[in-house]
Subunit: 304 residues, 4 copies
Amino acid sequence: MADLQARLEAIAAEMAAAPDRGRVADYIPELACIDPDQFAIAVCLADGTECAAGDADTRFSIQSVSKVFTLAMALGRLGDQLWSRVGREPSGLAFNSILQLEHERGIPRNPFINAGAIVVTDALLSGHAPREFLGEYLRFLRLAADDEDIHVNEAVARSETETGHRNFALAYELRAHDNLHHPPDHVLGAYFHQCAAEMTCRQLARAGRFLMGAAAAPRLLSPARIRRINALMMTCGHYDGSGDFAFRVGLPGKSGVGGGILVIVPERAAIAVWSPGLNAQGNSQLGTLAIERLARAQHWSVFG
Amino acid sequence: MADLQARLEAIAAEMAAAPDRGRVADYIPELACIDPDQFAIAVCLADGTECAAGDADTRFSIQSVSKVFTLAMALGRLGDQLWSRVGREPSGLAFNSILQLEHERGIPRNPFINAGAIVVTDALLSGHAPREFLGEYLRFLRLAADDEDIHVNEAVARSETETGHRNFALAYELRAHDNLHHPPDHVLGAYFHQCAAEMTCRQLARAGRFLMGAAAAPRLLSPARIRRINALMMTCGHYDGSGDFAFRVGLPGKSGVGGGILVIVPERAAIAVWSPGLNAQGNSQLGTLAIERLARAQHWSVFG
Amino acid sequence: MADLQARLEAIAAEMAAAPDRGRVADYIPELACIDPDQFAIAVCLADGTECAAGDADTRFSIQSVSKVFTLAMALGRLGDQLWSRVGREPSGLAFNSILQLEHERGIPRNPFINAGAIVVTDALLSGHAPREFLGEYLRFLRLAADDEDIHVNEAVARSETETGHRNFALAYELRAHDNLHHPPDHVLGAYFHQCAAEMTCRQLARAGRFLMGAAAAPRLLSPARIRRINALMMTCGHYDGSGDFAFRVGLPGKSGVGGGILVIVPERAAIAVWSPGLNAQGNSQLGTLAIERLARAQHWSVFG
Amino acid sequence: MADLQARLEAIAAEMAAAPDRGRVADYIPELACIDPDQFAIAVCLADGTECAAGDADTRFSIQSVSKVFTLAMALGRLGDQLWSRVGREPSGLAFNSILQLEHERGIPRNPFINAGAIVVTDALLSGHAPREFLGEYLRFLRLAADDEDIHVNEAVARSETETGHRNFALAYELRAHDNLHHPPDHVLGAYFHQCAAEMTCRQLARAGRFLMGAAAAPRLLSPARIRRINALMMTCGHYDGSGDFAFRVGLPGKSGVGGGILVIVPERAAIAVWSPGLNAQGNSQLGTLAIERLARAQHWSVFG
């Protein structure tokens, strides 16, 4: 535990000195002006211990990391019938590709590419107003993180609504294939708000506890479903860099363009890392490196 | 151990009664006439114990399972420079697709799709005649399996040479992109022979021990490389069904169109299963089902 | 002239008896209920003579035939700078494909596929309210056809607005590539109204006179621009059936899913044909056949 | 006639002074060292008159222009049954793309892309040894050009055989789809020899007379088939630059990477032009420009 704390601090120090910090995503105007020099890492162990280093109490936009939480919600509510509307295979294409959708009759390849996540949100809207969906979503996050102080940044959500043309194209394409049951602007309104939730690294690591399957964690989903979400994070969690993340790190994870990554060490730990600069695949450059360092030092790999 | 034996026998009995056995691959004439009613399963535990059930001493064509062994050989000989010629990402396309190759300038997405495996074999041919490569390959298999009685079926290799037009197309496309250093007919001669190696399930499970990273297994590669091969098996080992296999089974594996699958439980076990009928993704239908049953019963999942 | 009249009547009689009439487009609800037994053909010769047969005074929805008129308007207003936003090559893909758009950075392949026509309408909206654009468009049609009695069917326009999800996807994709300068719903509002213009075959043939480059026709565009529009109609006028139409008929033409086709015999004639049933490529089945019959009988082919 | 001669000389003079001459194709080593400063143009009129300017008696490699002659031969021998093996639509992709082939089950889009021309040559080999095919091909060229002095450059044919990996990939892909009836190396041997035929601009213009459908020209094919070959040249004759050539020139033509282009003015003229430097679409840069100049000056456009 003292070892782990020292390790996190060493990693934070190394990252503070890193010359190549990647590029902050600029397609969401509200996020484009984030200071790229920030870095944070936090770990929750199975026994409940928590450690953190860097800017671990600074809030950031979780963006696509939210897809893990909405998938968990949808599996809890709809069960396996969700899989008739979205696949479970890596996409082999960039994260916002519309090509695949056209090729495969409107069934997104997996719930972690944008099209798939939009379908998941559409499924969660069933029988609910967008506002109710958001309430339920925030309750889920707060319960998972055991912290009421988690909110949506309205300015970021609005910013995405105004500039998210590609997501509108995906939503209309899904609609053209009858795989969107609500009007595109409703679904995307909910989706952009979900992505605009803000958390600190400490909160995010804590919110990830239920995915490590540890006894102490809140029981939000069955163990079988948790294993399966981890499998999807392993094969599809980093867009077109998923294979490389599995190769280098050997742990399931989910990244977001806000620079956050949630990584699970089954039965042992939940890790949250954040640094705003992204690599060519759209994943946090220093975040990925930090996770790789930590996993190697701790001998945390699902592959032995 | 007695439990495991009983479990394997129960699974073999269930599979013997299964009505839908998939379809035997018919594009390699020599393999098209295999009796689809066969089934075998074998397990080697970390402590060296072995169990098996079904036709576990019947030889079958390992086909693409061979790609794991040639990848291990190539990483041992060339190290990370191999990755300048082949990627580490799931392909998101059928196993013999030439589309991706054209799109991505002749760099196959990973070493387990045909184009990638052909590049690996080409790399192993460097400085060797095809015959020498084959000798080295068989020595590797025999050492891994601790069994000299492993051979190549020449009739199957010839059959593939005569009908493997798509593989020739891939090889010439690689050559057009300067990512094949030997003449296509040399490389494919070696490749078809490598695929035509025959093993029993007992032999294949034993040959997989080095990938579980157990102390008792022969040390053929560094632990870091072994973890990384397992990561690739997890994300790319079942063609366009890799995500689904990870989702359902939660273990790294590699399948072949001969109906064999090699599955690794890191630090605990190597499993070989065989049944000739394939599912829509080209993976053994009953083999996949049997592995799913066994993994669930044994609580063998890398995801907890 | 009496010969031509007799020929048109013979063709109309043959078409009335044709057993396979194709399928009426059903994706625009308002058009789905059109009686498929209708057929009309009309010809305007360079000297001003007009002949017609069948239901030549029945109005039909001109749909994509409108793309020829908006292209002519845009070339007249913007000149060659239009070509920085849309290409001049056949697409080799179905008419509403979004694939090509994603591949080619938001520049539609030509002005006759939906994405290209949406860009042309967007260009015409520049500095105009949608309502003004529509006024100008109708003035152009009425001037070309020398007939004030040409209108837009509001019910059809509304029907497309409600069901044209794919066109919304295209418009948002264009917007994501900065190749749409107005809000998608404005542009598509204008576009759907433009497509919902109704004309009779007599009117459409007359409206096509300016494209044959005959002295008697209204001079709406320079001869060089007219030749170029004809070239585009030849290579791109029938979606993914353009090559076949050129091969079988040898004349430039533009079809619409309402079942109309406008065909130009340079310096000699403008032909309009209409029959609601479509072939697999989305072009009028009997219309194509009738044009082929007429062109052969009259020795009307630009290829000698 | 004196006018035409003066015009050709003026064009040749303009082209001699042109600063941007394109790039000589370098993928066929034997062709890479051609002097890019050469230019020739020749015209045969319907009445038999001939004019030429520039290096009109210099032989060049006709390359893909040969596809027009083999298509004529195949239509003469097999008639419309050829169209069961090759399509008639523009490809919308680069000239040697294998993508389309994989997508469309081994039926090349048209006879002028490489895959389609390989199928045409395969069809002509039926019942013939490659040597007999070549004899028949040369007889056809010599008859069309009324000149016995037309030969194949063996060094160029050999050079393509050694470096034409992409064409081998296409041939094996066709074979994998059962759309190649002879071994790839036989078909490509014949194909590379066909492409390596050498002609002067004078010879090529004369060889094109039969395609203008003039009474004085040798009657090698029915008028209907001639019109249809012209239609294919219009829609597919310049790879992915076909639409632009039709737009700018308005005449059917076929280009080759040797820098030659054959253009037909139906019922009026056959034009051959040659300059080795190519534009981005693989068509002769100055050749295209020269044809555009000549067509405009002569008012030669099929579109009026």
